[in-house]
Amino acid sequence: MSVTDSMYQQIILDHYKHPNNRGELSQFDAEVHHVNPTCGDEVTLRVRLADGEIAELGWVGEGCSISQASTSVMSDLVVGSSVSDALELQEKFLQLMQSQGHPDLSEEEIDALDDAIAFEGVSQYPARVKCALLGWMAMKSAVAEATASAESRSASTQAGE
């Protein structure tokens, strides 16, 4: 088996051993806790938004290398990007994971996915897809929650005017 066939690309092992954005934010707009009940993988994730961008994201978690490395890669990609770009990327990653080993992505999409493309091999293993998605789903929920609470805050401000 050649190394490139392996699900365990060097990038994944590196992120697993040295995760990025790991830690708890002290200031945040939303916190979510996601669990993969079949594996016991867990991630707790906080985000802070500013001007429609993900200003900060911090996470702590436990579980397999796929879930932890994927969360780390995700955090690298979305911090500093606009909420809409982050959600678009999440969609692309979801597609990649659902491709059962046969992704149908444009050059451009591959570029955008960046390091996350290393998880392509996971898509052939239905039981592991959830691991790779864990952090991405958590990010999506957290961003949705943060956006909703920002909207309700601004709505109540407006109502107060």
Binding site: P37, Y125, P126, A127, R128
Partner: protein, 416 residues
């Protein structure tokens, strides 16, 4: 193009001889024969991919899971299900129907499932032409819950008494369960009429499509019911697999039926939460090879085209009714017109017990069924002990119908 001779070559068993003569298999309503493609699929699964599904992260496990879930996709497409998660694999139709009945009775003790509860003052309605598998589960549900068990009677021609529908299905009806195509009579029921009435009173509808799925295009969205059950072994697939289709919104709210591996979200000694549909209703290791084999049967049927299947069988039915009705002392039990009926024809012959008819036909190589066909109330209704039943499939020819008619006449001579 539909060419029955080409199709027959796909079914190895059709070259069998019994009692020294070539087999004429006219018992497809009981169980269908299997095309080579299904047998090859079963074998390929076991020889190349066998592993348990969902649980394993290794290669075989992933392959088996993909194949199994692809089979679910195939079933979903075949019945035009809005979502693949609406397809629950069971061991047969009977389990599928019991699943609904037990989930409803479990609602009595499940917090949050109040809308599914059935109890005293409620009623459950079936028809007089049900197969026992769509009758006994509801009788037992009524017994467990104290609900009333009712049925819509049938008339002389084997049709539902239309005026009884509005009367029996009333505002206390919780469930209306009925057969799409009767296995005993061949009657195809007016789904729109029945589902329409049930919806008007807010009852859940359950269609037993065991006998329609193999013979006509089945579109669960067009049928409009809440649940549809059918069985693999009648659909040219393996034994040991059936399907319950249910509206997602209902399945997602219903209490589980069988408890075990795969149907849980998380298990704790102090309580358990359950997986989303379809897995909530698939406890334990599923019938993996069988579901994959059913997928192959569906591919096979789809390649032929269910419209072509229906047209072929309509022709056979018209011809068989016409020829059988020429035989003296032969009485069709069920609709005599080919309209709204399927390719399953029950009959009696004056003075000769159906068991003797079918046993002697077997000696001439012709396989038909005799008995009450697991629909005893139909026999009770017509005051007969049993019928002889010939039923057709995609591989049936008019020559086989001629053999049947000739056989019946020979039987009459022997008993004359």
């Amino acid at each position: 193009m539909f060419d029955v001779e080409v199709i027959r070559k796909d079914f190895p068993i059709l070259s069998r001889h019994v009692h020294g003569v070539p087999l004429v298999y006219l018992d497809s309503a009981n169980t269908s024969q299997k095309p080579q493609a299904v047998l090859d699929t079963l074998n390929d699964y076991y020889v190349n991919h066998n592993a348990n599904v969902a649980r394993a992260v290794h290669t075989l496990g992933s392959e088996a899971t993909l194949l199994f879930e692809q089979a679910r996709d195939k079933v979903a497409a075949f019945i035009n299900a809005p979502r693949r998660e609406e397809v629950v694999f069971t061991k047969n139709s009977s389990e599928a129907l019991n699943l609904v009945a037990y989930s409803l009775s479990n609602a009595s003790t499940t917090p949050g499932a109040e809308r599914f509860r059935v109890g005293p003052g409620d009623n459950i309605v079936v028809t007089e032409m049900e197969h026992h598998s769509n009758l006994v589960p509801w009788q037992l549900l009524a017994q467990r819950t104290g609900a009333e068990f009712r049925y819509i009677p049938i008339d002389e021609q084997g049709r539902l008494v239309d005026s009884a529908i509005d009367e029996r299905v009333d505002e206390h009806t919780k469930v209306l369960a009925f057969v799409h195509q009767s296995n005993a009579l061949g009657t195809v029921n007016d789904v729109a009429r029945l589902v329409g009435r049930a919806k008007a009173v807010g009852a859940l509808t359950v269609i037993d499509a065991s006998q329609s799925a193999p013979h006509r295009p089945l579109d669960v969205q067009a049928l409009g019911a809440d649940f549809v059950a059918f069985t693999g072994h009648k659909l040219y697939g393996p034994t040991g697999v059936g399907v319950l289709w249910g509206r997602y919104e209902l399945l997602a709210a219903m209490p589980p039926f069988l408890g075990g591996g795969e149907m849980i979200e998380t298990v704790d000694m102090s309580g358990t939460t359950f997986a989303a549909p379809p897995h909530r209703f698939e406890a334990g290791t599923p019938m993996i090879a069988e579901a994959i084999g059913l997928g192959a049967a569906i591919d096979y049927l789809t390649a032929i085209g269910m419209d072509n299947v229906q047209a072929h069988e309509a022709e056979l039915t018209t011809y068989a009714l016409q020829e059988l009705m020429k035989v003296p002392d032969l009485k069709i039990i069920g609709p005599e017109s080919p309209l709204d009926r399927g390719a399953t024809i029950s009959f009696t012959i004056k003075g000769i017990h159906p068991h003797d008819v079918s046993q002697l036909l077997d000696e001439f190589g012709i396989a038909v069924r005799a008995g009450h066909h697991c629909a005893r109330p139909v026999c009770v209704r017509y005051g007969i002990a049993a019928t002889t039943r010939a039923s057709f499939g995609i591989y049936t020819t008019t020559a086989e119908i001629d053999a049947l008619v000739a056989g019946v006449i020979k039987v009459q001579e022997m008993f004359g």
